[in-house]
């Protein structure tokens, strides 16, 4: 079964995580710069929250991988992305119905290998 990992991380951690994932056998990923807020409505530990909710800059990584590889990928991301402070981000795992490599017409797991 193919799965998609979507995670929202601190931008400063991206470089390190990208290298570790590539070394860990991840064969492709997409990165977006984005903004968002979580449970603390965009305020860090140092800031005093006001009524206004704020967006914070984040990067989003998307990876499609085989089910068997998911736990390994999550472990790498989790280890490198964690500072233990508010705003470390989230990881989501989604089911992927099918995949297709346009150049070769390969489908399923071969499309991402």
């Amino acid at each position: 079964m193919l799965k998609k990992i979507e995670c929202y991380l601190q931008p400063i951690k991206l470089e390190e995580i990208k290298e570790a994932l590539a070394k860990g056998g991840v064969r492709g990923m997409t990165v977006y710069e984005c903004r968002g807020f979580g449970r603390s409505r965009g305020y860090t530990e140092e800031e005093t929250p006001t009524a206004q909710t704020k967006f914070r800059p984040k990067v989003k990584i998307e990876i499609v991988a085989d089910e068997a590889e998911v736990d390994g990928i999550i472990t790498i991301i989790k280890k490198l992305a964690r500072t233990g402070r508010i705003g470390d981000g989230k990881i989501f795992v989604l089911p992927v119905e099918d995949a297709l490599r346009i150049r070769t017409d390969e489908v399923g797991i071969r499309a991402i290998r």
Partner: protein
């Protein structure tokens, strides 16, 4: 009381008394719970007694040619929510009363995690360590033949318990299948993967227990990172609990088994310990930790205490000295009712057995579902579904405990008994 016991099997009165009080405890628990919820008196009378108790003689030929007769039991406490489900225990001290209590607890356990089963339990009074593998096989096959008429995928589905394992389940499956004339993998759970077992079943009880600990930690507002844990028992539950909790950042400062315990405040190296246990067969004698007794282990200063051995470990005698912040009952009935009140007064958060160790029967349910569908899931899927069931059960129990201002155990019992009682009411009484 050796009622219904064929053959000349007598044992010390003292031990009998302890085991008897396990049944008394189960009954008292049910009556206490019934008082707290709105249950019809007639339904309570039905739930107080098992639907069926089968006591069988199990004669086998020992390897030296002698014939020995063992006593076996299968108690089916309730079928209201579905077929009965429960383990088979091979242990010298089992009695009918103990099996009755364990069967009743299985009914509550299946109800609390909301899987469509009633409760059952089986046992053979024997010491499996003193039987050769072929004697064990003959014992298992003869016992299975004796209980054959009352088990089956839609009637009663056995599983492993103390003293039995995946191999024993494979023999039960084979014996049943031979008698039916075709393979029936769903007659028993906890089987080896090769004959229809489920991925993730071996660690399921510990994994479920860990999920409840994580949920409880969230409620108590702490993370597992660097928390100290003591684990009593290093069998299927204790060992996997120690291994999985280490992965969550917990520091295991104490472990024990029947031969004694280990203590190291800096944390025991669980990977090395498990390797040692694989060779030595016990935690006893492991270097890099101090020796302690089982009694001392329970009284260690730690964040999380996991009794994962046998019944009756936390009593009114040692409960006042317990220093744990949270107790997750990996074993069945490790806390006496008297001790329970003391723990309650001390404000120790107890995750009760029927919730904390329900991961095993939950993945057994998944194994049965997969067996019936003849379609098997990935380990990831099994674990995710287990987590979902455990999280929901924990939340249901926690919410009820907050709403009714009762302990987690009382809430779990109330939830379980009311689910079964409601099913009883809806089905009505035949004829």
């Amino acid at each position: 009381m050796n009622q219904g016991k064929p053959g000349e099997v007598t044992r010390g009165n003292c031990k009998e008394k302890i085991k008897e009080s396990v049944w008394d405890k189960a009954l008292k628990q049910l009556e206490d719970t019934a008082r707290r919820i709105n249950i019809e008196p007639g339904a309570l009378e039905i739930l107080k007694v098992p639907r069926r108790c089968l006591v069988v003689s199990v004669p086998i030929r020992r390897d030296d040619g002698q014939i020995e007769v063992f006593t076996g039991y299968r108690v089916q406490h309730n079928f209201t929510r579905g077929p009965a489900k429960g383990g088979i225990r091979y242990h010298p001290d089992v009695t009918l009363d103990l099996v009755k209590a364990l069967a009743m607890w299985m009914t509550w356990k299946c109800a609390v995690v909301n899987i469509p089963y009633g409760g059952a339990k089986g046992a053979v009074a024997c010491n499996p360590k003193k039987l050769s593998p072929s004697e064990l096989e003959r014992l298992t096959r003869r016992y299975t033949s004796a209980i054959l008429p009352i088990i089956g995928p839609e009637k009663d589905i056995p599983a492993p318990d103390m003293g039995t394992n995946a191999q024993v389940m494979a023999w039960i499956m084979d014996t049943y299948s031979i008698n039916q004339g075709y393979s029936v993998p769903a007659v028993v759970t906890g089987k080896p993967i090769e004959v229809g077992g489920s991925l993730g079943r071996d660690k399921a009880t510990a994994r479920g227990c860990l999920y409840t600990v994580m949920d409880a930690a969230k409620k108590l507002d702490f993370t597992l990172e660097e928390r100290t844990m003591a684990v009593q028992g290093y069998g299927n539950v204790g060992r996997n609990m120690a291994e999985l909790s280490t992965g969550q950042g917990c520091r295991i400062i104490g472990v024990s088994d029947i031969n004694g315990g280990l203590y190291n405040p800096k944390g025991i190296d669980i990977t090395r310990l498990s390797r040692y246990v694989d060779e030595a067969g016990t935690v006893f004698g492991f270097t890099d930790a101090d020796s302690i007794t089982n009694a001392e282990l329970l009284e260690l200063e730690c964040d999380i205490l996991v009794p994962a051995a046998v019944e009756h470990q936390i009593t009114e005698k040692n409960a006042p000295r317990l220093k744990a912040r949270m107790i997750a009952e990996g074993a069945n009935g490790p806390t006496t009712s008297e001790a329970d009140e003391i723990l309650d007064d001390k404000g120790i958060f107890v995750i009760p057995d029927i919730l904390a160790n329900a991961g095993g029967v939950t993945v057994s349910y998944f194994e049965w579902v997969q067996g019936i569908q003849a379609y098997f899931w990935s380990e990831r899927e099994v674990n995710l579904r287990l987590r979902e069931v455990m999280e929901r059960a924990f939340e249901d129990v926690y919410r009820l405990s907050q709403k009714e201002k009762v302990s987690m155990r009382q809430a779990a019992n109330m939830l379980a008994v009311s689910r079964v009682a409601e099913a009883c009411r809806l089905r009505g009484l035949y004829p």
